[in-house]
Symmetry: C2
DNA sequence: CACGATTTAGTTGTGCACAACTGAATCGTG
DNA sequence: CACGATTCAGTTGTGCACAACTAAATCGTG
């Protein structure tokens, strides 16, 4: 089998162009499709992800949301502020640990879930993938992400290439 | 085989949580890995994509870059201005069509290519995927993106779900 | 040729990602 | 108990994505 070592740098650069582009394109295409589907709910895609975890887990501290979505407070704080302004979530300082802020869906947020139920099905139908393919894609992407997250930054430095 | 139609909305919402998350996570993990690898070059990931197309195609109008990367002038104009400020590209109004701005790599931009040659190999090695797997992932993502880009927006509206 | 439609870059405004930082609360160890 | 280290949310600044818009050049049709 052809191994990585036998391929010239030039070919790698070309292949890189292709895979970078397709990953970038797939992500933006997915975002675009969700943007369209979520327009009627008044949610962005990241806001929808936050609502999904709140619907699934009930109330969570900001940190808990961040762990599940791999987002930090710099991203979540303003996003949650917008969700709060829209009336979908409420935030309050935890009584037990006043460093922590607990986030939970409001009544309007719960109603939103009912309106959101149809979204994933329409997306799935639009992709033309069946359930098994969707699950496989999920697993591949999940495995890739886990592997990438586990990379030692030093392995990306020139000295180790 | 289980079809989409027989799956309850609730299960879809849960599956959606998973696939949204894994796509989002894979993208951000990839971005993070590239960010690290490109740090020494002083490039961001989108800037690197632009340099890749310029290295491959020689000079291109802004529109040509946008078509290849599916980016509009609102994204490209400031990005190119930064690449120009860094000395990697130069822009000049086309003589034939003064609406158009031609972008090409400078000498420093060409030197950057030499230093960039090792990057994709290190990324590929870090993913632990072999060439065939990389090519397969590229094709799957490309096909998915093409399918998503081709979706009729109306198909995402509630009335058609 | 004239003039409305189109094309091309660019600008503005909103939202997300992330690094670096701040400040307050809490924890752990002496 | 005291005090330095850590944790947590939030802020600031930079860059990207995208929608909506502007201005200038070009095109196409009468």
């Amino acid at each position: 089998m052809e191994t990585l070592d036998t391929v010239p740098d030039e070919d790698f650069l070309r292949l890189d162009h292709q895979i970078c582009f397709s990953l970038h394109a797939a992500t933006r295409a997915f975002n675009g499709v969700y943007r369209e589907a979520l327009k009627e709910l008044g949610l962005t895609y990241p806001q929808y992800l936050v609502m999904l975890v709140l619907w699934e887990h009930g109330e969570l501290p900001v940190k808990g949301i961040g762990e599940r979505l791999r987002l930090d407070s710099g991203t979540l704080s303003p996003l949650l502020k917008r969700l709060e302004a829209a009336g979908y979530v409420e935030r309050r300082r935890s009584a037990e640990d006043e460093r922590s802020v607990t986030v939970r869906a409001t009544g309007a947020g719960a109603e939103l879930r009912e309106r959101a139920l149809g979204v994933p099905r329409r997306i799935a139908a639009a992709t033309g993938l069946d359930l098994a393919e969707i699950a496989e894609l999920r697993d591949r992407l999940g495995a890739l992400a886990a592997r990438l997250d586990g990379i030692d930054p030093d392995a990306l430095r020139p000295s180790c290439g």
